[in-house]
Every structure is written in C-alpha cells, then in structure tokens.
Symmetry: C2
Subunit: 356 residues, 2 copies
C-alpha cells in the first residue's frame, strides 16, 4: 500500500483503503466496514482519544468521582451555516450540552457524540468541526467517551448534524432547579442577550444584514462553579438558548409557580444586536444565546454572586435584571422604562430556524 500525496487531510496516517472519494464523505463511511473504521481511527480517535473511548467496545465504561446524583442531557445541533462568527456546529455541540448539565449544578464529565453526515460533505469540513469539538471539550474539561457516525444519501440531510448527550456529577448538597425559584430571589443575567441568534442569522447571508456581532458561544461550567462557590444556595440556573431569555423565564415561572418581574432598562443588549433586531422585526428577548445564563439567587447573596461572576469572561457583563415575586404566579412581567408594565409571553411558532 502506497501513500498518496493528495490526501493532506490525513497527514502522517496511512489510509487503509485509498479511495478517490477520500476527500468527501461517501456512503461507505457509514457502512460499518473498513471505511467507517478508517474514519474513526484517523479522524475521531486522534481528536478525542481517551482510555474509555479507545477501548473500542459497544459502550464506554466510566466511574463517577463519588456517590450521589448524576445529571443527564441531550441536544441535537442542526445549525446553518456550519461556521459562523464566534463558533461552529462542533463548538456548539459541546457547549450546548455542557451548559445544560451545568444548569442543574452538575460538573460536566462525559459526552457522547452522534454524527449524521450527508454524502458529499468535504472531509476537511468534518475535520475542522471535529477539531473545534476537541478544543471546546478541552476548554470545558469534558471527555468524549462514545460516538457514532451515520451517512445519509445526498439530499437526505444537510451537511452535518451532531447530537451530543452528556453526563455530569452533582456534588452532595447541591440542589439547583427551575422549580426552586422563590419569591424574594433576585434575577441575575450573565451578560448581553441575542448575540448568538443575530450572529448566525447574519452569517447566513441573503438578508443584507451586515452586523459586527459574534456568537457568545462558550462553556459555562466554570462560571457556575464560581457562582456556587460564592453562594451554594443558588436556586435556579438556566441558559436561555432557543426561544431566548423570554421563553426561559416563562418556563421557570411555570415550574416554580412564581412571578418574574423584569426591569426593561436593566437588561443588557448590544446596540448592534438591538439595531439588527429592529431591522428584522425581532424581539431580543426571544433571540437565542449560547453563552449566557440567568440565575435566581437569594437577595442577601446577590451582590456577592454578581461580583464572583464578573471575575470570569462569560460573566463579566453580569447584572441584576429583576426579581421573583409571588404574583401573578406563572407569569413574566416587564416593567418598562417609561413606567408601564407588559406581559412577556412565550412566542407561538418559529423565531429563527436552524439556530442551534
């Protein structure tokens, strides 16, 4: 078997089946035979290699760091385009699940990754995405311990979809839930909203939307650890992704049977995002974020929590945006800058398709 010089995407690795299709994904990459093994060994193992993954069994075997509760979450990512300012589908797939785990107070430990590749996808694109996943996993200190690759025929998928599921460990004594927001709590937001949605929309082109906004996409687990160090009694955490801050707060108001009262002037929105939203007829409250969280914290600890958050990059825009009251239970109300009050409802249908 000779090395072919025209396969730069696998430098230094001998391809076991040197086929001309090797620049693009072909159905054979999903067939479970040598081509699938080649893809795993040349692309996925070098990126994610860790003992649990490399054993090569049908399931990875791992041991939690201690007794107690586990957090489990899953998210499939179908964002279009695959690359956008501030991130890509790979970083999104890692951070999205890491953040969901962190939102119940868990320390994210392990991820699984399930790929659906469209026949014809450039292998170089896949390699860039996998490299980005590796970097994000390192940043969040999680291991990808199990994976799966399927290939759909041309026109039966859209380039690349990635599902990640995650497992985190919840240290003793932590009890963070959307059902624990309590009248008297202060509502803290970690920074300006809407960046992710607007960045992806602008990257899509076709809308003549030229804005200089990058996605806020980031792992939030270290921020959460810092917050829980500052105040172990944090009641609720949620990252307002698809559906935005407005939807996330409505979910919490219903889960906890409380009212959430917001101060419009206190909610940070970048001027570029505000301008883009006005142009497009969008409400920033419903635009997706991928590196922000909202927290319900006892009032007496709130100043300390905000100060702790501001020490870390993803929390440096932290601000108090409202409070939790008893009435009207299950509702989110916005107190506007000019003295009015309006209900913040959940939007009905589609806001921005394929945003995550």
């Amino acid at each position: 078997m000779t090395e072919s010089p025209d396969r730069p995407q696998f430098e230094g690795l001998t391809c076991p089946v040197p086929l001309p299709q090797d620049r693009q994904v072909v159905l054979g990459h999903g067939g479970g035979g040598k081509m699938t093994h080649g893809l795993i060994e040349r692309l996925f193992y070098p990126a994610f290699g860790n003992p649990a993954l490399l054993v090569g069994d049908d399931a990875a075997v791992v041991t939690p760091p201690g007794p107690g509760k586990l957090a489990v979450s899953t998210d499939t990512h179908i964002v279009a385009p695959l690359f956008f300012p501030g991130g890509d589908i790979g970083r999104l797939a890692v951070c999205g699940t890491v953040n969901d785990l962190a939102m119940v107070g868990a320390r994210p430990l392990w991820l699984t990754a399930g790929f659906v590749l469209e026949e014809g996808l450039e292998l170089d694109v896949l390699r860039r995405v996998v490299d980005s996943m590796r970097a994000a996993a390192e940043e969040a200190r999680v291991l990808v311990i199990a994976g799966d690759t399927k290939v759909a025929e041309r026109g039966k998928a859209d380039g690349l979809f990635i599902n990640t599921a995650g497992i985190g460990w919840i240290p003793e004594g932590r009890e963070v839930s959307g059902a624990r927001a309590t009248a008297g709590d202060v509502v803290i937001l970690s920074g300006p909203i809407g960046d992710h949605g607007i960045a992806v929309l602008a990257a899509r082109g076709g809308l003549e939307l030229r804005v200089n906004v990058a996605s806020d996409l980031a792992p939030l687990n270290r921020l959460v650890e810092r917050m829980l160090d500052a105040c172990p009694q944090v009641h609720t955490l949620r990252d307002p992704t698809r559906g935005g801050l407005g939807t996330a707060l409505n979910e919490i108001a219903r889960q906890s049977h409380v009212a959430i009262h917001l101060e419009e002037g206190a909610i940070p929105v970048r001027p570029e995002v505000q301008a883009a939203c006005e142009l497009l007829g969008l409400e920033p409250l419903y635009v997706a974020n991928e590196g922000k969280l909202v927290a319900m914290v006892p009032r007496e600890a709130s100043a300390e929590v905000v100060a702790a958050m501001r020490e870390l990059d993803p929390g440096k825009g932290a601000a108090i945006i409202g409070e939790v009251r008893e009435a009207p239970a299950g509702r989110v109300l916005m107190h506007t800058s000019i003295g009015g009050t309006r209900v913040v409802d959940v939007p009905a249908g589609e806001l921005l398709p394929r945003i995550c």
Copy 2:
C-alpha cells in the same frame, strides 16, 4: 380556546395553539416556543412521562442504584424506511442503545432521545414512532429521561432521525469487554443472522425482493443478565449490527489479539435470508442484526450458558459456532463444510445503506 374535532392525533388533550399545520411537522415545532412546548407536552411527555423527565429542567437528575462503574453509549438511527417487518425506527432507537450497554455487562437504566424531524412529517407518523419507543422502553425496562427536538426544512433531512444515548450500571465484579476474549473460549451465537438487514432491504421495495423475513429487533439485556447469572465469567459480548457478524468478530479478534475460528456449518442462517443474500450478492456474515449477540465464554461454562440462553426468546436459537485460539492473532478464519479454510475480513465500503 375551542377543541377542534379534526386533530384526532391528540385525543383528550387540548391543543394550546390550534393551527392548521397541526397534522404535520412545521418549522415552529422546532423553534423553542409554544409549538415546541405543545409537542413535548402532548406527544413526548404522555409517552415517556417519568419524574426525572417531567421536572422540565435543562438536564435530568438521577441516582445510580449503587456505587461503581457506568456504561455509556450512543447511536443515531437513520433507517429507511421508518417502518419495516418486525420493527420501526423507534424500537430500533431504543433497542440499539440498550443492547450496546448490555454488551459490556451493564444493566441499561436511562436513555436520552434526540429527534431531527423534517418539515412536513406527518405528526401521526411521529406519534406511532414515539409509541413504539415507549413500548420498547417498557420491554427493556429503561426510562427516557431527557430529550430534544429539532426541525429541518423540507429536503434537509429524511422524515425522521433519532439519536439515543444510554447509561447503564455495571454491578460489582462484572468485566465484559471485546478485549477479554481468550484462547480456549468458545464462541456462542444467540440465533440466525442477517434477518434485520434483509427485512429492511425488502421493505424498501424497488428491488423486486419478496421475502417473508422479519427483523430480529429486540432488547437483549434480559438475555445478557441470564447469561451472566449462568456464568459470571463471560469474557466478551457483542451485538453484530451494522457490518454484521463478520465485522464484529474481526473487531474482537483485534481488540483481544486472538484468532477466532468459525465452523461454517454451525452458523445459523434462515433459508429465506440465505436465498435473498444469494439473489443480491450479499454475504450473510456481513448483513446487520439487531437482536443477536455473540459471546466468548470459557469452554467449561459454555453448555450451561447455551442452555440458559435457550430459555429466553432472543436466545432460543443459541449455538456454539467456533472457538478462540492464539493464532493467527487478529484474524477471523472460517472452516468450511468441505474442509477448507478462508479468512473472514472486514468489508471495505458500503454494504447496505441506511440499515439502522
């Protein structure tokens, strides 16, 4: 809000947003707003309802039954067609991951489910698939504790893709791995091979292939428990899915640095499957199974294990098909009925696309 009589798919449940599109998936079902919540509350919660899921947080919180190791696995299912004799994509998504967990000696406990829906999918089709998942989860005694739904535009997916990830608990003392096959072990197969691949292929139509074969699709975790009760020293288990028995045995031979010697006459294949394979130029050894396992077991325990397997439906065709030897390490050899020997290699590229 009035009930509309033309939404029979959600009997007894009031639709919060009665829209004309309610018979089909629309982009709004993936937007994260009211339509997404409606889909979750009307379709997914009634099917999978359990305390961990119903809390509605970003991650489910669960507690393993005891200290020790966990098994983790993931699989995305893109099978075409969605329904085939003996099963459907929903049952496949549950059994596939349950079986991967069982193959390292774990007791499958929890699943996550990530759906990619194509715009225009009939909601009634989704409901049938979800019902089938619920039934399979009950059969396998696992809980679906977390889920995600995304919608891709028409022509950007193919009806319905389902990812499941699973977590199982490995009781103390169990050590089952593809790396533990040992010279002297006996190779046991749980029943005839190739049923799943041929059933799906026949269901696809267009090939003028009329065979009366149903998929073997079934959860294998109870069979594995029975085997481990009979012989706690089972070394290796694997379910030969995509790539078939031939590929699975090659993986094990490499992981364990052993040779696997098979007796051709001992490997059960249904006559209908054999005939279909001959017609299509396929080798049953490489055709997918979804309810079979192969085991490497110390010779002294093998009769007892086979007897135990035959007590349960998925093991009633159990047979000894070969043995593990030292040489040639990493290879699978077939001793044919007429006294010859041939190497069973891993196939190169695509065998049967979209089989799981």
